[in-house]
């Protein structure tokens, strides 16, 4: 799951990035409106955290622009302004949720999870993937009663495939979802992760479509 933080407060952005990374998200940061707009148009983010008071282009204008260009990424507005008008404008411009600063970090993380869940075809906290059951809140994978230990990246790939159950997910799509803008690794790294996943969850869950990508049967 790849998330963008559009926030001009360096310290706050750093904190959010740490917290979201720990949750297994790939996190990009845009310190101003124009970067936020460019990134949102270029990457299919699973969620965007958007400050309204951004330099250069205001958060509201960024939001309006990305929605006009058909970007569907869920947007959580994050702002210190708490006037009702601000909330209404933000939601009218196409935001999906609204959180006022200061906020409780766990609430923000829960809201991001909820946004991603709502945007997926199967908006539930518990995802079934063949014989596996994914608890997306606790980030736990069970096969029967057995809990399978996964690394953050492995889990992220598994959840992405489980959310898009029944469709082939290309390697580059997986790459975009689990790596942020600063990571630049070998192109076969996804195959390495999938191989590791198969060893842990069993060979019968993830199927390979040669030349296309991977899928979990729906």
């Amino acid at each position: 799951m790849r998330v963008m933080i559009a926030e001009d407060e360096v310290d706050l952005a750093r904190t959010l990035r740490k917290a979201l990374t720990e949750e297994g998200y790939a996190v990009d940061w845009a310190p101003n409106g124009s970067e936020a707009l460019a990134k949102a148009l270029g990457v299919p983010y699973d969620a965007i955290l958007l400050d309204l008071m951004l330099p250069e282009i205001s958060g509201l204008d960024v939001l309006t622009a990305v929605r006009q260009r058909g970007v569907r990424s869920p947007v959580l507005i994050l702002t210190a302004r708490d006037a009702v008008d601000d909330k209404v404008h933000g939601l009218n411009a196409g935001a999906d949720d609204y959180l006022t600063k200061p906020f409780v970090l766990t609430e923000l993380l829960a809201r991001v999870r909820a946004l991603i869940r709502r945007a997926s075809p199967e908006p539930v906290a518990e995802l079934a993937a063949g014989p596996l059951l994914l608890d997306t809140n606790l980030r736990l994978v069970r096969r029967g009663t057995e809990v399978i230990e996964l690394t953050a990246r492995e889990y992220a790939i598994l959840e992405l495939l489980a959310r898009r159950k029944g469709t082939v997910v290309t390697r580059s799509a997986i790459y975009d979802h689990v790596y942020d803008e600063h990571e630049d690794t070998l192109s076969n790294v996804i195959d390495v992760f999938v191989a590791a996943l198969r060893r842990k969850v069993g060979p019968d869950v993830i199927r390979t479509r040669r030349g296309h990508g991977y899928l979990i049967d729906g």
Binding site: D8, E9, V10, D11, L12, R14, T15, L16, K18, A19, E22, P31, N32, M53, P55, E56, A80, R81, D82, A83, T100, K101, P102, F103, V104, L105, T106, L108
Partner: protein
């Protein structure tokens, strides 16, 4: 409504109209009465003369009274009871039309009103003659005249009141509008304005003045609202940073580096809150007049030099060269505040500069003013932002990108300090090239005069300190080239 201006105007108007009509009516009645009485008196006197002429002394002290026919007719008219009496000079009665008339002897000469009768007493040919008549017909006539006057007056007053009521209503209708508008304004509708018909009328002028007051009120409320919103936004941002960082640190067991980083972040946020709160307090005190300047003879060049020295490490860190040309100049001022002012302006010039940029700081005398010029080679300020940079919390976008820690209070404070010293501050900028801030302060003697306005507590112990002769003549300005090591190594 009984208390309304319109009703009161009307009551006064009615009272005055009624008083005037009553006075006119009374005058008419009085003059009518007088003219009637004088006609009656003349008539009675004429009849009395006729009676006196008709009395002829007869033999043996007897008298013959032979009244002419018209006199008899007059005194016998049934509709108008008249009477007479005649006495000799010794008071003995000669004749009377009725035994009841003046039984006490002849009254004094002249005209008099007795009960409803008018009597005239004359002396003629040794006789005293009294002629009288009933005047109740005159009274009746007067009453009916008074009644007519009253009726006409009442109708007139009613008509006048009706006209006055509608006129007053029309004249006072702006008052109603003013009242309604003021009420809406008081209820919080800040856009309420009075529709003005004619600006020349007194009420039009009142409405105009009120509209202007409403405008100022709205502006001041808007500014206050904006200030509160900005202040809460500015305070919430570091609070949000601190809370999020603490949440993150406490989420699970972490290593020492993580805790150190969390504490450092919290410290930065705390420092920002502190400077924000202090800035806000200073501005609030300044605006409420609580903050007083301690004005003394102050060497502006020394104050500025201190600020330059204080900021030299920051300039070195940013690779910015400071060039100071400070000529000895004395102003009447608060050295702490002037130091804040200089430090703030120089900090901005360093912070919004480009790497390897320069800041030139000049103190000099220009046209009877002491001028501090701070010019940087930095990012500049867009023309659209220039007029607002001295507003509280105003930060140009470019500035926010460069120095995210600033709260936007520094220049507002700078402006307050300069204004409180009786000076002016101006900023000019070429975006992308340079920005120059010019502070102009009155020279000492003018500063002393300006300090007399009571806002500042000034102590003038000595005459203005002249720069020492050697400094002034040989080396008029202290050249001070602050060159950070990073820059000099290039």
């Amino acid at each position: 409504m009984a208390d309304s201006l319109r009703a009161r105007l009307l009551v006064w108007f009615a009272a005055i109209v009624m008083l005037v009509i009553a006075m006119v009516g009374a005058a008419v009645c009085w003059m009518t009465w007088r003219s009637r009485l004088s006609a009656i008196d003349a008539e009675l006197a004429r009849r009395g003369e006729s009676i006196a002429r008709a009395v002829r002394p007869g033999p043996e002290g007897r008298v013959d009274v032979e009244l002419p026919a018209d006199v008899i007719a007059y005194f016998q008219r049934p509709d108008l009871p008249a009477y007479y009496a005649v006495w000799r000079a010794d008071g003995s009665i000669v004749d009377r039309s009725d035994p009841d008339i003046a039984p006490g002897g002849p009254p004094r000469r002249g005209a008099a009103t007795r009960a409803s009768n008018r009597e005239v007493v004359i002396h003629s040919g040794g006789l005293t003659v009294l002629a009288g008549r009933d005047v109740s017909d005159v009274w009746q006539e007067l009453w009916s005249l008074a009644a007519t006057v009253m009726t006409v007056a009442l109708v007139g007053i009613a008509a006048a009141l009706a006209v006055a009521w509608s006129l007053a209503g029309r004249a006072l209708s702006p008052v109603k509008r003013i009242n309604e508008t003021a009420r809406r304004m008081a209820e919080g509708d800040l856009t309420a304005r009075i529709a003005i018909d004619g600006t020349e009328t007194e009420l039009g002028q009142v409405a105009n003045a009120l509209n202007q007051a409403f405008d100022r009120q709205r502006d001041s409320i808007e500014r206050q609202r904006q200030f509160t919103a900005d202040a809460s936004h500015q305070l919430r941002t570091p609070v949000a940073t601190m809370m999020a960082e603490l949440d993150w640190a406490l989420m699970r067991e972490r290593g020492g580096d993580d805790y150190r980083e969390a504490l450092a972040t919290c410290k930065r946020a705390g420092a920002r809150m502190q400077s924000l709160v202090e800035g806000l307090l200073t501005l609030a005190r300044a605006e409420s007049g609580e903050l007083r300047l301690q004005c003394l003879e102050t060497r502006l060049d020394r104050v500025v030099e201190d600020a330059v020295e204080m900021l030299r490490p920051l300039a070195m860190q940013r690779g910015v060269r400071l060039h100071a040309a400070l000529s000895p100049q004395t102003v009447l001022g608060d050295s702490d505040r002037l130091h804040d002012l200089a430090a703030n302006l120089i900090f901005n010039a360093i912070a919004y500069n480009r790497p390897q940029g320069t800041v030139s700081i000049v103190v000099q005398r220009e046209h009877e003013r002491v001028v501090l010029r701070i010019r940087d080679s930095g990012i500049g300020i867009a023309p659209i932002d220039l007029p607002k940079i001295f507003d509280r919390f105003y930060r140009a976008d470019a500035a926010r990108t460069r120095e995210p820690a600033g709260a936007g209070l520094g220049l507002a404070l700078a402006k307050w300090i300069v204004t409180a010293h009786g000076g002016s501050i101006e900023c000019t900028s070429e975006p992308g090239r340079s920005t120059e801030v010019v502070v102009s302060l009155p020279v000492t003697n003018q500063a002393a005069a300006a300090a007399g306005d009571g806002r500042r507590s000034a102590r003038l112990a000595a005459p203005p300190i002249a720069p020492s002769a050697s400094t002034a003549s040989v080396n008029p300005s202290v050249q001070n080239d602050v060159r950070p090591s990073a820059a000099s190594s290039e």
